[in-house]
């Protein structure tokens, strides 16, 4: 267990393009860091630099007290869980887990104890004599985890470890990983592009974009106060509705103080249906035309338009709406997000008295 310190790290594969661009992140001892971002943004590259599988072009990575830039992967005291598990196909489950230990010259007894312990934790006990090809996806995943656990390393690295599993198994494994990491208390870095994983697993969430860090923070902070339109649209499903401020028409009631507001955002679930043309309250009130209704069981999504802008609205339960319906929608003012022309989040963009607590009142009548 150790702190992990990433200091101005960059990676250049060829030419001058930076796959990772001056990234600095601190991961505390025992902390669970999740890296999210769109495909190709450099998540894997960063992780692989930590693992020692890629050379570090610039900057330094420190694990515990050691700068590891020049260390062999095997010398860094890390364990890695790969996307497609990367189990040794020719070794039994037991040997897959024991392999890393044997290479470190650990005593047989100790190896056996650790492997069996991990197997118990992961409920792999009866599978120890099987080969990977005789396992189901979820079981393979657990073996990959087991291989990491037995090592009791300074840090765990995960590269989209669940992306090959089906939805049900994925949600199950998610809980297991979190639980394990908590109980072992091992510093972890986890790469994913699945939001649910990012939100539920992270102690600290890093959103990356094009090799750079967009935002670092606790997951709910990132969710509630996205630092940019990029983060806003990336975190949360369905994505936050982002509407050019100009498209709203002049809306004095928002009590604009900061003239640089370029985009207003609000999440589908923060929208409430209001009686026709109800213009009360200090939030945003809009007219919404339903294009499509997607009932999903516990909730429904209304896809539609406000003016020319596409907007998604979430309705609890079964939506009574039909295509073509025109309804009034409103967003409590404290649930609005504002961004400048560069997509950066704006704080304090409204006059103080415009920020009331009407929203809380309105929630009570949320559409169902």
């Amino acid at each position: 267990m150790a702190r992990l310190h990433i200091d101005q790290v960059s990676k250049i594969y060829t030419g001058t393009q930076r796959a990772v661009d001056a990234v600095s992140i601190d991961v505390d001892d025992g902390e669970f860091l999740v890296l999210v971002g769109p495909s190709g943004c450099g998540k894997s590259t960063l992780l692989r630099m930590i693992a020692g599988l890629e050379a570090i072009t610039e900057g330094a990575i420190t694990i515990g007290e050691r700068v590891v830039n020049d260390l062999d992967p095997a010398a860094r005291d890390i364990a890695m869980v790969f996307q497609n598990y990367a189990l040794y196909p020719h070794m039994k489950v037991y040997d897959n887990m024991a392999y890393g230990l044997r290479n470190r010259g650990i005593a047989r007894d100790e190896i056996d104890r650790r492997v069996r312990e991990a197997a118990t934790t992961l409920e792999l006990g009866p599978l120890l004599e099987r080969k990977p090809r005789e396992l189901s996806g979820g079981q393979r995943q657990r073996v990959a985890m087991g291989r990491a656990i037995v090592r009791n390393p300074a840090a765990f690295l995960f590269d989209e470890p669940l992306s090959n599993l089906d939805a049900k198994l994925r949600s199950h494994m998610r809980v297991e990983i979190k639980h394990l990491q908590r109980s072992l208390g091992i510093t972890s870095v986890y790469v994913t592009h699945d939001q649910l994983e990012a939100m539920t697993l992270a102690d600290k969430l890093v959103v990356m974009n094009a090799g750079k860090v967009e935002q670092i923070g606790a997951p709910l902070d990132v969710y509630e106060r996205p630092a940019s339109t990029f983060v806003a649209s990336f975190i949360g499903a369905p994505a936050m509705n982002l509407i050019p401020f100009s498209a709203l028409g002049d809306d004095g009631r928002l009590g604009l103080r900061d003239a640089t507001v370029a985009t207003i955002g609000f999440r589908p679930q923060d929208i409430i249906e209001v009686a026709n043309d109800n213009e009360d309250g200090d939030g945003l009130s809009l007219r919404f035309v339903v294009d499509a209704v997607e009932p999903v069981g516990s909730e429904s999504y209304l896809h539609g338009k406000v003016g020319a802008e596409r907007v998604v609205v979430r309705i609890d339960g079964r939506a009574p709406h039909r295509e073509g319906d025109r309804i009034g929608i409103a967003v409590p003012s404290e649930r609005l997000h504002a961004f400048d022309a560069d997509g950066r989040r704006l704080e304090g963009w409204r006059t103080p008295d415009a920020v009331g607590d009407a929203g809380t009142a309105m929630r009570k009548t949320r559409a169902t």
């Binding site: 599988l53 095997a74 890695m80 598990y85 189990l87 020719h90 290479n103």
Partner: protein, 293 residues
């Protein structure tokens, strides 16, 4: 799941016909003829023949010379396969590791494959010539009086060296492609699990190459058994004397050169039986080839 197949109709037979016809006419007919004549002693010109039952087999199997040849064949096959595989594997692993010049090495190492065996043999005899062969000079630096054609073992050495040289290229090609089909992530996992490159090779890379290696083993055994024919012919200068030869070459010597049809047919049949057994073993391996992941 088994391959999805078309139902049965006339079509598969039509597709099979050409190959079956060729195989029947040019393989089974001659092979059958070999079986038949292995029971006869026949005048080469075909004027007369005597049915001798299993005498030809008895003669062959009781011959100490045949046994000597068989033993050499086993050794030759084992050594050629072993060295050709080991050297090719080493080179393939290295060619797979280096970044710079990988393609050049690949080309250089592969092209020997294109050389005709008689040419390879010709090079072999010139390089190993007792009087002017450079390899003999090199050997003498190490105090080794290398005498191909005189000393049984020296000749065997030259044959094996030349045969290995020629086969390394083929093995290299297959090993390289085998290596490239090992998932990158597995190799990286090993990199994290194990510091020693050598140990990594033996515990992870090599086991994962076993399907390729099995396949190549069979190819190499076949090669050593049969395809070195031309090379041995050249190395022994068509006059084996007390030099080592392999079983196939002996079939050739007795039948083709010596016109002893019955005796050589019996040898052919014995070889066929051995070969059939080998085929069975091969398919055991091939079909149950470890299908990883």
């Amino acid at each position: 799941m088994d391959k999805v197949r078309f139902g049965h109709s006339i079509v598969p037979y039509l597709f099979l016909l050409p190959q079956m016809a060729v195989v029947a006419v040019f393989f089974y007919l001659p092979a059958g003829e070999a079986v038949r004549s292995s029971f006869f002693l026949e005048d080469p010109f075909g004027f007369s023949s005597t049915f001798v039952g299993l005498d030809n087999y008895a003669d062959v199997l009781s011959s100490t010379e045949y046994r000597r040849v068989a033993i050499f064949t086993v050794w030759f096959t084992v050594l050629v396969a072993l060295f050709a595989l080991a050297i090719a594997l080493l080179l393939a692993v290295k060619a797979d590791t280096v970044l710079r010049g990988a393609k050049t090495y690949r080309t250089l190492l592969m092209w020997v494959y294109a050389i005709a065996p008689p040419v390879a043999g010709l090079l072999g005899i010139l390089l190993f010539d007792q009087h002017v062969g450079p390899f003999v000079d090199i050997a003498s630096w190490f105090g080794w009086n290398l005498r191909i054609g005189v000393n049984y073992y020296d000749t065997a050495f030259a044959m094996i060296a030349t045969a290995v040289w020629y086969q390394v290229a083929v093995n290299f090609i297959f090993f390289l492609s085998g290596l490239q089909s090992i998932p990158r992530a597995v190799r990286e996992a090993a990199l994290i699990d194990c510091r020693s490159g050598l140990r990594r090779f033996f515990t992870v890379t090599l086991p994962l190459l076993t399907p390729t290696a099995f396949f190549l083993l069979v190819i190499n055994v076949t090669y050593a058994l049969f395809d070195t024919f031309g090379l041995i012919d050249l190395m022994t200068k068509n006059e084996p004397g007390n030099n080592p030869v392999t079983l196939v070459y002996k079939v050739f010597l007795d039948g083709f050169r010596g016109n002893d049809l019955g005796g050589s047919s019996a040898q052919s049949v014995i070889l066929m039986i051995v070969v059939f057994a080998l085929t069975l073993v091969q398919f055991r391996f091939m079909e149950r080839r470890v299908h990883y992941a």
